[in-house]
Structure formats: structure tokens, C-alpha cells
Amino acid sequence: MIQRILILTGYFVKNVFFSLTGLILLILSLAFWAILFPPGQGTPDIENYIILIGALGAAATFMTTLATCARAARMEHYPMLVRLPSRVEYLTAVFLSSLVLGLFMQLLVAGLALIRGPELSVSHLLMIPPIWLSIDLLAVILAMHATDLVTAGWSRVILFGLLALALVLNSASSSPESWFPERLDDLAELFSRVNLMWFSDLAYSASSWAYDSPLSGLTRFAGILFWPFRAMTDAVLAGGFTPSQALAPAVVMLYGAILFLIAATLFAGKDLEFLE
């Protein structure tokens, strides 16, 4: 199994890297470096270095995954796919090749940004891999769900809809009891200004209901869901992990594992109508 996955991974890495898409992604990564880490200016801020290159890694892996999935969903790969005992091996190879390509772009920029850049201490060097790797891994799997290779029916609409909802709820998690009622009060105010009194009354009623509703519980839940990302940012800004913050990358990887299981289930059960 490992031999088959490695063969396919190598094939996809070469296929994407030595293509126009690969070249464009490389140029974009270098442009990112030239704009945000100009060697003439220098980047003494280590926190910025970790966060910005972490964000680049997520973006790069997302883009390489889109490119790899588009290539993997071509008809020329039917004979290869048929030879595999399980379709999950194919998906794993797509996952690994996207991760390898994204990491390559990230490490390239990370290396270049050290030119007249920050000096990395041992504690920083120990902190960087779990943060970058966990975020990249999650970005790969989210991107897979966005592609035709994995998506089945309404799966991507549902997944990204839930993600958007969770992000909205997360933004309310700092004041879970009052965030929704305040938004509804704003809405009621807006309706009353344009003389839509019936809608305004409705929004006021909804606002009073929202104070005691389960929505505050949902916002708290969303806050917990996004805790690992806040914890990692806090750790970077503080210069090291506290024992509880050290769990954050593992939790992000757990999210990735769950999403990969969903992706594998969708991919294993769908019709693979690849394109030319």
C-alpha cells in the first residue's frame, strides 16, 4: 500500500510542479516574499515571521491542493485508479502531494525571509513545525472538500456553509449573551427608520427572545471550536506554548483527521466521472 501511495504521490508532485500552475504558484510565493519580507528592509519581528509564513503556508497548500485535485480528476488516471485495491489510497496520494508542494513553497519563502530577517531561537524552532504543519494539513483537507474530486452532491455547500456559520458564531463568542440581541436591535432600528414597523416589531421580539435563547450556547460552542487557532496565535505572540496551548496543534490535526475521514467516505462512494 505504501509503495502505491508513494508512487502516486511522486507522480502528482512532478505533474503539478513541472506545469504552468506550478510555475504560477512558485511565482506567487516569491512575490509574497518580495512584498512582505523585502530583503532590503529586513524583518526583525519573529511573531510576524511565524504568523505571515504560516498564513502563506495555508494559502499555498490550499492552492496546490486545488491544482493537484484538478489534475487527479482527469480521465488519463482511470487505468491507475483501477489498479488500486482502495480508492482511499488515491486520495491519500493526492493529499500527500498537495501537502509536499505547499510545504515546499512555504519553506522556500521561510528560508528566503531569513535573509536579513529575524534570528530564530531554539524555542521558536521547536514551536514552528507543529503550528505550520497542522494549519497546512487542515488547509489541504478543506481545499479537497472544495474540489470536484471529493465533493458529492451538496457536500461542499454544506461543509463551507457550516464553516461560515461557525465563523459568524465565533465572532459573537466574545459576548455570547448580547451579540445576537444587539444585532437584532440594530436590525429593528433599521426597519423602523424606513417605516417598516411590522418588521421592526418582529426584530425587537426576536431580540428579546435571543437574550434567553440557546444561541448563546451555540456561540460559546463556536468559540471552543476555534480555540486552537486563538491559542496558537497567543502562543506565538507570547513566545512559547503554555501546557494547554501546546494541545492546540493536535486539536487542529484532529479536525483535519475528521475532515479527511469525511472526504474519504465521500470519495469512496461517488461516481468518478473524470474529465479530459
Binding site: Q3, R4, I7, L8, Y11, N15, F18, R74, M75, E76, Y78, P79, M80, L81, V82, R83, L84, R87, G269, K270, D271, L272, E273, E276
Partner: protein, 291 residues
């Protein structure tokens, strides 16, 4: 080897296969015939695991496990930038051919399809005929239990078709199980040992080839000129008598009336050129099934 149990496949409102029950027997070369849109490619893709049935089950028969599969799709698209031997080496690796045996497996498969000369060429530089042969080479590499060949000789010149037929005959002699869809009836007659005819997503016919071709013996009486004048008279003798040009065909019960038919023909002034006993041809089986 593989059986279909009440298998249906729908693409939105289009029913590609409907309640299919059939068996692909081990060691047979199965010819899959049918007009365009009959469901041949869908059936092959179901076995290849590329698509899933809407209902029913495709499974290994009770005596065996799910076979390893080599697949040559109808539309041959390859990663054009790869070298032929590189591509085959990769396929060999995917079917667990060891590093040491890989080169031999690649050369052997190229030799079997007469493509050794293209071993070091980029795939995108190969001609259509060479690509067809590469399609077959990648399907046979690693010695899979079952070969799925979707129109193996389509788009080839007669010489290329002959080469493919010879190659398929070699595979049949070697005892390989093959399922091939084709529109070439002579190819099926020459190569296949089992016949399946599909139309509108339904199995119209499935039988061993030998059995199919011994079906419905008939007697043909050929005379010296067209039988237009005597047609009505002959057809009144029995319902199973048909007249085609200068030939009278007697089927089933009508075969016993050949003396009576001969005497009518002689009395009408026809000279008998030939009387022969025939079997049904594949073209006749196919035409009858799809009508």
C-alpha cells in the same frame, strides 16, 4: 468470476442499465455487443469500480475473491509528458511488481503488443495505433486476473485490427479472463468464447459462443435466378420458409419439408445450384437480438 445481481445504473433521469443479471465466467473471453448507448461502457466502468450501481450488486462469484483488474478505456488519454516505459513502470509499481522485476515486466508488456520501438519515446509523440497498443500494454502489465477492454481495436486500420485480434487470441489461449466491448463482429467471432448482447440497458442475450453459433440450424437452397415469381407459393408451404433473392431458407420445422420445396422449385423451372445445411451467424444473432 464476477456476477451482476439486479444491477441498475441511472444518470439523473437516464437509465443506463436496468435490472441486469449476468455472470462473467472465469477463463472466458466475453464479447460485449450492443448498439451505441446500450450500456456497454457503463457495465465495464461498474466492474472497474469507477462508478457505483444505483441499485443491485456487482460482486465476485461464490468461488472466488474480487479479481485484480487491468483496464483499457474507450478513450485513450495518457499523461503525455511521460516516457512510455516510465508510464508502464509506474503502472507496474501500482500492481505491486517488485523493483527488480519492473523493467522485465515493462519490456515484456511492450513486446507483447509490438511496441518495443516506442519504449523510450514520449507518449505524446505516439501515433493513434501505438497509443491503442500502449493502452493494451498498460492493461496487461502485472498479469491482472481480469482484463476490461473497451473497444480495443476502434479507430485502427485493418492491419492494426488484425494485430489486436492476434494479440487477443494469444491471451485467450493463455486462459485469461477478458471482457471486451466492441462493434466488430468478426473480431468477436474470432476471439470471444462467450457472448453478451445489450440494448437500452438490458441484457438481451448471454450464452457461450459455441452454443450461440450452433443454435438454429437451417437449410439454404440456392437456385439459378431470383425467386420473386415463386415467393408466394413457397411461403404458403410453411411459415418458417423465407425467400431472399435466389435463396430459400428453411428453418426449424420447415427443414423437414425440403423435398416438397425442391419439387416445387423444379416444377417451376428453377435449376438447383446448391443445397446446404447452415448454422446461425453472429450477425444474425445480433440483428435478431437488437430488433
Amino acid at each position: 468470476m464476477i456476477e451482476f445481481s439486479q444491477v441498475s445504473k441511472k444518470y439523473y433521469s437516464l437509465t443506463a442499465l436496468q435490472d441486469i443479471n449476468l455472470t462473467i465466467p472465469r477463463g472466458e473471453v466475453v464479447g460485449l455487443l450492443g448498439p451505441n448507448g446500450a450500456g456497454k461502457t457503463t457495465l465495464i466502468k461498474l466492474i472497474a469500480g469507477i462508478i457505483n450501481p444505483t441499485s443491485g450488486e456487482v460482486r465476485a462469484t461464490s468461488e472466488g475473491t474480487w479479481p485484480s483488474i487491468g483496464y483499457k478505456p474507450e478513450r485513450l488519454i495518457f499523461p503525455g509528458n511521460l516516457i512510455t516505459s516510465q508510464y508502464l513502470g509506474m503502472i507496474a509499481g501500482l500492481c505491486n511488481v517488485g523493483r527488480e522485476q519492473k523493467d522485465n515486466a515493462v519490456l515484456e508488456s511492450l513486446a507483447r503488443v509490438n511496441l518495443l520501438a516506442a519504449a523510450n519515446k514520449q507518449i505524446k509523440t505516439l501515433s493513434k495505433g501505438m497509443r491503442q497498443r500502449l493502452g493494451l500494454a498498460q492493461a496487461i502489465i502485472g498479469d491482472p486476473d481480469l482484463l476490461l477492454l473497451d473497444e480495443p481495436s476502434s479507430g485502427l486500420d485493418p492491419e492494426g485490427q488484425d494485430e489486436i485480434q492476434t494479440f487477443l487470441e494469444e491471451l485467450r489461449i493463455a486462459g485469461k479472463t477478458i471482457l471486451m466491448s466492441t462493434h466488430q463482429l468478426p473480431e468477436v467471432t474470432k476471439v470471444c468464447t462467450y457472448l453478451i448482447i445489450l440494448k437500452d440497458g438490458k441484457v438481451l442475450y448471454q450464452n457461450p459462443m459455441a452454443e450461440a453459433l450452433t443454435l438454429r440450424p437451417h437449410v439454404a437452397i440456392q437456385v439459378d435466378r431470383p425467386l420473386d415469381g415463386a415467393k408466394q407459393l413457397l411461403m404458403m408451404v410453411h411459415n418458417d420458409i423465407t425467400v431472399d433473392g435466389n435463396e430459400v431458407i428453411l428453418r426449424d420445422e420447415a427443414i423437414g419439408m425440403r423435398r416438397q420445396v425442391l419439387s416445387i422449385l423444379i416444377n417451376q423451372g428453377f435449376d438447383i445450384v446448391r443445397v446446404e445445411q447452415r448454422r446461425v451467424t453472429l450477425a444474425e444473432i445480433y440483428a435478431e437480438a437488437i430488433q
